[in-house]
Symmetry: C2
Subunit: 204 residues, 2 copies
Amino acid sequence: MRKLDILTGSDSGCSEPRKKAATRIFETARDLFYRRGIRAVGVDEIVCQAGVTKPSLYRSFDSKDDLVAKCLESFAAEGMAEIDARIEAAGPEPLPRLKALIAHYAEEMANPGFRGCPMSNAAVEFPEEGHPGRLVVESCKTAVRERVVGLTRALSVDDPEALADGLILLIEGAFSAHHVFGSQGPASAFSRAAERLISSHLKV
Amino acid sequence: MRKLDILTGSDSGCSEPRKKAATRIFETARDLFYRRGIRAVGVDEIVCQAGVTKPSLYRSFDSKDDLVAKCLESFAAEGMAEIDARIEAAGPEPLPRLKALIAHYAEEMANPGFRGCPMSNAAVEFPEEGHPGRLVVESCKTAVRERVVGLTRALSVDDPEALADGLILLIEGAFSAHHVFGSQGPASAFSRAAERLISSHLKV
DNA sequence: GTTGTGATACGTACCGTTCAGTTACATTTC
DNA sequence: GAAATGTAACTGAACGGTACGTATCACAAC
């Protein structure tokens, strides 16, 4: 249980005395897994690019799968914190909160380094039930779905669950379409489609 | 160029005299790649499950990547033929044709063996530009996008391109959401969301 | 103030396995 | 007698993973 403490790399002061091996490994793995895919990246490449050695990896992580799961957990926590912050910043009114969520995803996809959702990508790479990484993905996606349906239920719309799921389809679709078409493809229609879907549920 | 001829395995008659090695390899690879992922399946497993040997694989295919690309081509051709047939069967009216396309995807996702779109999955597994499999994916997705935009342009709607892209987001989103949530998740809202999006563009 | 000593952190070198791909040759099938 | 396939071994690289040696630092003892 203490293993994760080391990942923070809290050196408290000093002039960048080179991060701890575990931290370097973790950050490098996160980057490589996201950019190139998880199965496509071997542990040798991770330690090489992190400037450390393999035993350092296995001292801090039980296995590659463990490292994968911890990276995905990090992605999930980061993503959830971002959308929660974005929703809160939109104030108390339900509609602006929902639109803030849409805007957040639209901006995220406009980032130059964007290469889809790390969770959705992992779900494709690990179809086998029970994979440690898959569990993280499932709980994260479920949490997001609950956030969205929580927002639509606060709205005065017909069938808020259907609206929430429709919006999730648009979000996931934009993630996916980005892989093939980039940000100028169908993903560019994301915000407008989401707004249309919302208003079609609103005007009853 | 003759290599593909063998894949049809046209034995013309006889009582199932065991298919040709290339055919068995091809069909087995298609199945395994789709069910388990491309990177997760090795050539040894393919030839083992196909009941053939490795030299037979490399006599018919230049490499694993070549086999991957040919499998993806097959998926693409099959998919395109299905949606074209479905659209044609819907008659000459543009709206029923578009709705037939939506219905097709909805039915496809209801299949028990459904595990997302082979093309979209491959795009996640092979992010590197220029991969032989990726070229197939890109041309296929582009062709589908052209089909959809062709259908929406035939409709009297405002911004048919935006409608087409919105529908593509819903389709891709349903593919993607299916990986995590199965057919009972957000993907179940696919048809209704598509209909709402279409009518929101129609009533102008 | 130098010299033990133990714990932490890390690297060197290697393990066995699996990967994609190949070879030479024997066997089946038509 | 070709053409297609199987047998059995192999290559070299990459894979995930590990036994073991070494550097570093804190804290003590002398």
